[in-house]
């Protein structure tokens, strides 16, 4: 598969497609926390770095095979997510955002000073295991599971927390438990994404996982539409390709981001696909087809 792709597809484009896949996994994780459950997390890069470093340390210093590293990265990030989540998920909105920013910053500083993580030098020589089939295979599995989640009873419970926590609780939803579950699932995906990222770059340092990384991931979810899986995917694709297309204005990239988000908030406050429902799409489609058939006959 890989050699076949490399034969026909330019390596540069292939790299971007892989990066899109990694970002989709990361953004879908954040979408569960922020988009679906409504808990504003601005420290997703922190959990991503936990996954990346776990995987990199296991692979370079203990020679652990890649699939085990990948799983360990996800579990480690999820474990930290749940441990941190239990106390901080009592907070709401802006306060939760502050604490998650703080947590991600602490994680960054810890890796910056940790001997085994290579301090400021970072870790190099990570085996290049990330390829097209692994990334997109995982994307497909994760999208399917994620869709299954959102269409199930636990998924509705998560949405109800975003919509109205008091009413959710009065309807019998254990909101504390479900918020922690959402945080666990979201940070698990952050860990998986981080691991793929480490084995894709083969070199990581704490600078890869700063505050701007978290903001970038949040932008992908907000741009696409909070809580929508197709929306998150579209948002991720746009924001991953944008810097490549805008290479000639590289330094002004953030300017572009700002402008894009402002325009979006004016014209589509719920994100590109945030308020588009499959039910409505089907209804419009059948209505449109009926009028079209009438015209034809």
């Amino acid at each position: 598969m890989e050699s076949l792709l490399q034969q026909y597809v330019d390596l540069y484009y292939l790299q971007i497609v892989i990066l899109i896949g990694i970002n989709i996994i990361l953004a879908l994780g954040l979408n569960i926390i922020t988009g679906v459950t409504g808990q504003l997390s601005m420290g997703h890069a922190g959990f991503m770095s936990i996954g990346a470093y776990t995987s990199a340390i296991l692979a370079t210093q203990f020679g652990v095979p890649f699939p085990v590293c990948l799983l360990a990265a996800g579990l480690m990030a999820a474990f930290m997510g749940v441990v941190i989540g239990i106390p901080i998920l009592r907070l709401e909105g802006d306060y939760l955002a502050m604490v998650t920013i703080g947590f991600a910053e602490i994680v960054r500083v810890v890796f910056l000073n940790l001997e085994i993580a290579g301090r400021g030098m970072g870790l190099s020589g990570i085996p290049a295991e990330t390829n097209f089939s692994i990334v997109w295979g995982l994307v497909i599995i994760i999208v399917l599971l994620n869709t299954g989640l959102l269409k199930s009873r636990p998924g509705r419970a998560l949405y109800s927390i975003r919509e109205d926590e008091i009413a959710a609780e009065a309807s019998g939803v254990n909101t504390t438990l479900y918020k922690v579950i959402a945080f666990g699932m979201g940070t698990f995906l952050a860990g998986i994404g981080g691991s793929l990222y480490a084995h894709y770059l083969t070199y990581i340092n704490p600078g890869n996982f700063g505050f701007m990384r978290s903001v970038e991931l949040l932008n992908m979810v907000v741009l696409g539409g909070m809580g929508s899986i197709p929306g998150t995917i579209v948002g991720t694709i746009i924001l991953t390709i944008a810097p490549e297309v805008l290479r000639f204005v590289q330094e002004y990239r953030l300017l572009f981001y700002g402008a894009l988000l402002v325009i979006l908030m004016i014209f589509r406050p719920n994100g590109l696909l945030g308020d588009v429902r499959w039910h409505d799409v089907k209804r419009y489609w059948s209505r449109w087809r009926k009028t079209w058939i009438k015209k034809g006959s």
Binding site: L145, G148, L149, K151, S152, R153, P154, G155, R156, A157, Y159, S160, E163, D164, I166, A167, A168, E169, A170, S171, G172, V173, N174, T175, I181, D275, R277, H279
Partner: protein
């Protein structure tokens, strides 16, 4: 002994006594009214029963078991449903999904079997959907199942909230001013809806400002003023009570 017993309950908010040693008992299968002027402590009492606050003093029993101090979702699980004074719906979910969330604690399929959509979880989901449709039909929203809750008319939103509370299969529902903002026809329909709920064997505890509604439908009622009980009994008895007339109906004797 009644299905709901409030025993000597007091609630203080930083020195302000919102409820003062209140006691009353609601019998199974009746429609029990709760009236009183603004600030009398009606909504505070609702929030105490549903676990949003924990009483400063006293205890609340449901079917003979102490429920004061339980978390709100546990109180929903034991069978107390409620609506809110200012409608609290899941606005961006469809009407039927709002009702489905209400059925959350009545589902037996586990987390993983639901997420992976195993056959038995799907079967249960189908039964739940069927029951949700019946509930929506009961409140007169059968043609709006897929509408977003936030796009429904105000009266419809109130009815949807009642359907969501009924989805718990509760033994007791607390309705916080269900007739507020409704027109005369809607009020008529609401009255018959509340009677139908009672006929299903569900006890109803009702806060209401509209005297017509309360006097018409309640079997018994309690009148609060400044956090304490000033009268209790059937509507006709309460209507003629001097203290009630003075403090609530605003007539000088």
């Amino acid at each position: 002994m009644g299905i709901l017993e409030v025993r000597n309950v007091s609630q203080e908010f930083g020195g302000l006594l919102a409820l003062d040693r209140l006691s009353f008992s609601v019998e199974e299968g009746e429609i029990y009214g709760l009236i009183g002027p603004n600030g009398a402590g009606k909504t505070t009492l609702f929030n105490l029963i549903t676990g949003i606050y924990r009483p400063t003093l006293g205890e609340i029993l449901f079917k003979g078991q102490v429920i004061s101090g339980l978390k709100p979702y546990r109180i929903a699980e034991v069978g107390i449903g409620r609506t809110f004074q200012n409608v609290r719906l899941f606005k961006k979910l469809s009407a039927i999904d709002n009702v489905r969330v209400g059925m959350h604690s009545r589902s037996r399929a586990g987390f993983f079997s639901s997420v992976l959509h195993f056959p038995w979880a799907n079967r249960e989901e189908k039964q739940m959907t069927e029951k949700c449709r019946e509930l929506l039909e009961m409140v007169g929203l059968s043609d709006k199942t897929m509408e977003l809750a936030g796009s429904l008319a105000y009266g419809e939103q109130r009815c949807l909230e009642i359907a969501r509370a009924m989805a718990l299969s509760p033994s007791l529902v607390l309705l916080d001013e269900p007739a507020a903002g409704m027109n005369a026809t809607e009020k008529e329909e609401l009255l018959s809806l509340i009677r139908r709920i009672r006929d299903l064997g569900v006890t109803v505890l009702l806060v209401e400002h509209d005297m017509n509604v309360v006097m018409n439908i309640c079997d018994r009622m309690i009148v609060l003023n400044y956090g304490s009980k000033i009268a209790e009994g059937p509507p006709d008895f309460v209507k003629n009570d001097e203290k009630v007339i003075q403090s609530y109906l605003g007539v000088d004797m």
